[in-house]
Symmetry: C2
Subunit: 345 residues, 2 copies
DNA sequence: CTGTTAGCGCATTCAT
DNA sequence: ATGAATGCGCTAACAG
C-alpha cells in the first residue's frame, strides 16, 4: 500500500546523476544533455514521481496559493463569485484556499492566522468584518498586521482606518437602476425590504434608495423600509410586516434575490400575486432568480468581472506590479417578469 | 510595508536561547522554564510571529490538509455537503483544499496531481469519474496510483476495479420511500424525470424505480421516464416532453430538486398546477426545496452525517486507524406540499 | 531544562 | 553539462 516516498535523491541515484541535475529537468532551469534527461524522465515516469510542493515553496519562499476568507460558500452569491475567481486564479498559476467564516469574526481571525502559517501569498477578503459600518479597531489592527506581511484585497467591503486595496460592485448605481425602472413603470409608491443596519452594503443601499426617491420627487415612507436580514426567511418576515400595513406600496425593492423570493412567497400567501399586485425586484442575479416564478427582475453583480479583477489586483500586488487601489465594477439590469406597469385602481 | 520574515532563529537570538527552545514553547513538546518561556512568548507577541507551516509540514511529513475533488461548488448539493464536511474536518484539526473539477476528467487529473504535490494527507472524491457507469480504465489506474500514496474516500460513487473506501447515500431506499409515498397517496401512474444514462446514481435510481413499481404491481411506462440532466433547464425540458404526451402520469419523481423545480415551472407554464394536477417529488432537499412554491416534497441526503462520516473515514485512514470500507447513509423523507392524494377525474 | 546537530525535499550558487 | 555544498524554517534526537 504505502510505497515510500521517492525523492529527487532516489531518482538521482538510480540515474547516476546528482540531485541537482534531476532538479534541473524538473524546473527546466538549465540545459541537461538529452540522453541523461531521457533517463531521468523515464524514472520520473516509472515511479510516478511528483516533487514535494512544500519543500519547493519553502525554498522559493512563494507558495503560489491565495486564501479566500468569505462568509458562507453555501450562499449562491459567494459560491458563484468564488468559482469564477478560483478559475481565474488557476489560470494565472495560483491555487485557492477557501475559508468559510460564517460571518464570525473569531473564525475570521483564526483563519487569518491559519492562512499566514500556510504561507499563502495573498488573501481575498469578503464579508464579515469588512462589512461592518462601524469598524472594530481590534479587527482592523489584526488585518493591518496581516497586510504588513502579504497583500490583501477587499471585495465589496472596507474598514475605516485600513488603507486596503479594494474592488467592489457599484451598488449605488444598481439601486438607481432599480428605482429608475420602477419609476419608468409608473410606480411612485416604493418599499425597500431586507438587509441589516450596521452592514455597509445595506446602509449604502438605503441611503442611495432615499436619494433616488428624492431625485424623482417621491416621498420616502419609513414604514415601507423594513430591515430584516438576507435570506428567504427574512424576506418572508419583512413582507408579512409590510403586507399588514394599511397603506402599501405598489412596488418593492429587495436587498437581494433571496429576500425577493421570500417576499414573493409571502405575497402569494396573502392571496396576492407578483407582478399583478406588486412589482418586486431583487439584487445579485443568482442562478435561481431566473427560475423562481415569475422570474425575478434584478441587478447582476457581474460576478466574472468582479472575481477576475479581485484576483488580478491581488496577483499583481503579490508579484510586485502596479495595481489600482480601488476598482468599481458596474452592475447591469436584468429584466424578467416580476415587475410591471403600475395601473391605478 | 514588508517586515522581513522573522523565524525562530530571530526569536531565539533575541531571547538568548537556542532555536530548539523556541520550538519547544511553540509545540509544547517539552518543559521550558517559566521565565524563559515568558521571554519567548513576549517576543512572539512582539513580532506577531507565526511558525512557517510549510517548514513544519516538511519535517512532520504531514500537512494536516485534505483535498476535495468535486464537480461544482456552485451546486447547492455540493456546497452544503462541503460546508458540513469542512467544518467537521476543521474540528479534527484538518484544513480543506477545494478543487472544482466541473465534471471534467482532465481537470480531475490535474487536481489530483496538484493535491499530491501539495502533500495533502488524504482526498475526498465526489462526482465526475466515480459516477460513470462504465469505468475508464485509465482514470481508474490513475486513481489507484494516488491511493497507493494517500488514502482516498469516495462519496456517492464507485469505480469498477478500484477497491476504494466509500461512503454513500442510500439512494435506493430514498427512491423506494418516494414510490411508497406516491402509492400511499393513491397514485398508480408515476413518471420519472431527469438524470443521465451512464451516470451511476441515475441508473441506480431508474432500476430501483422500476423494481419498486413492480413490487406495487404498477406498470412501468417507458415513455414516462425521460432522461435529460440535472439542472433546472433539464427539468423544464423533460417536463415539456412529458406534458405533450397524450396520456400522462398523475405523479412525477424527479432525479433531484433542481429538476423538480424545472418540472413545476413547466407544469405551470402549461396552465396546470402542482400538486393539483400533478404530484411532484424531488431528491436532495437542497435549501431551496422548502421555499420553491409550493414547497417540494423530497428526500434528504442527510448532508451532515454524510460529510461527517466521509471525513471520519478519511482521517481514520490517515491516522492509521480502522475504518469501515463502505458506509451507507440512510435518507429521510421530507414531506411538504408538492404532493397530494390522487383523485380520479 | 536547554543547546547542538541533523535532517525533511528541493533549488541554487559556485565550481569543475 | 554536471556535481558538491548550502540554505529555506522547523522539529527531533541526543547530549549535557
Amino acid at each position: 500500500m504505502k510505497k515510500d516516498h521517492v525523492t529527487i535523491y532516489d531518482i538521482a541515484k538510480e540515474a547516476n546523476v546528482s540531485p541537482a541535475t534531476v532538479s534541473r529537468v524538473l524546473t527546466g532551469s538549465a540545459k541537461v544533455r538529452p540522453d541523461t534527461m531521457n533517463r531521468i524522465m523515464a524514472l520520473i515516469e516509472k515511479y510516478n514521481f511528483r516533487p514535494n510542493g512544500l519543500a519547493r515553496s519553502l525554498t522559493y519562499k512563494k507558495s503560489k496559493m491565495i486564501g479566500f476568507i468569505l462568509p458562507d460558500i453555501n450562499h449562491p452569491f459567494f459560491s458563484t463569485l468564488v468559482l469564477k475567481s478560483e478559475a481565474h486564479a488557476l489560470k494565472r498559476g495560483y491555487t485557492s484556499f477557501l475559508c468559510n467564516s460564517m460571518n464570525n469574526s473569531e473564525m475570521e481571525s483564526q483563519y487569518l492566522h491559519n492562512l499566514l502559517e500556510k504561507q499563502v501569498d495573498g488573501i481575498i477578503f469578503l464579508g464579515g468584518r469588512i462589512n461592518a459600518v462601524k469598524t472594530n479597531p481590534e479587527y482592523a489592527e489584526e488585518l493591518k498586521q496581516v497586510m504588513d506581511r502579504i497583500p490583501v484585497v477587499f471585495v465589496n467591503g472596507q474598514m475605516s482606518g485600513v488603507d486596503a486595496y479594494a474592488v467592489h460592485t457599484d451598488e449605488a448605481y444598481g439601486v438607481n437602476q432599480l428605482v429608475q425602472l420602477l419609476v419608468n413603470h409608473g410606480h411612485s409608491k416604493i418599499g425597500f425590504l431586507g438587509g441589516l443596519s450596521g452592514i455597509t452594503s445595506t446602509e449604502m443601499k438605503w441611503t442611495t434608495f432615499k436619494e433616488a426617491l428624492n431625485d424623482h420627487n417621491i416621498e420616502v415612507r419609513e414604514e415601507w423600509m423594513i430591515e430584516s436580514g438576507f435570506n428567504i426567511e427574512s424576506g418572508e418576515e419583512a413582507a408579512a410586516q409590510l403586507l399588514s400595513l394599511k397603506e402599501k406600496p405598489s412596488s418593492i425593492i429587495c436587498v437581494n434575490d433571496f429576500v425577493a423570493m421570500g417576499t414573493i412567497n409571502m405575497i402569494n400567501k396573502f392571496g396576492l400575486s407578483v407582478p399583478h399586485d406588486f412589482s418586486v425586484v431583487g439584487f445579485d442575479d443568482i442562478y435561481l432568480a431566473q427560475y423562481f416564478p415569475p422570474g425575478i427582475t434584478t441587478i447582476s453583480q457581474n460576478y466574472k468581472q468582479l472575481g477576475q479583477t479581485a484576483i488580478d489586483v491581488l496577483i499583481n500586488l503579490i508579484e510586485g506590479k502596479e495595481a489600482q487601489k480601488e476598482t468599481i465594477i458596474p452592475t447591469s439590469l436584468v429584466i424578467r417578469n416580476s415587475c410591471k406597469q403600475f395601473i391605478p385602481k
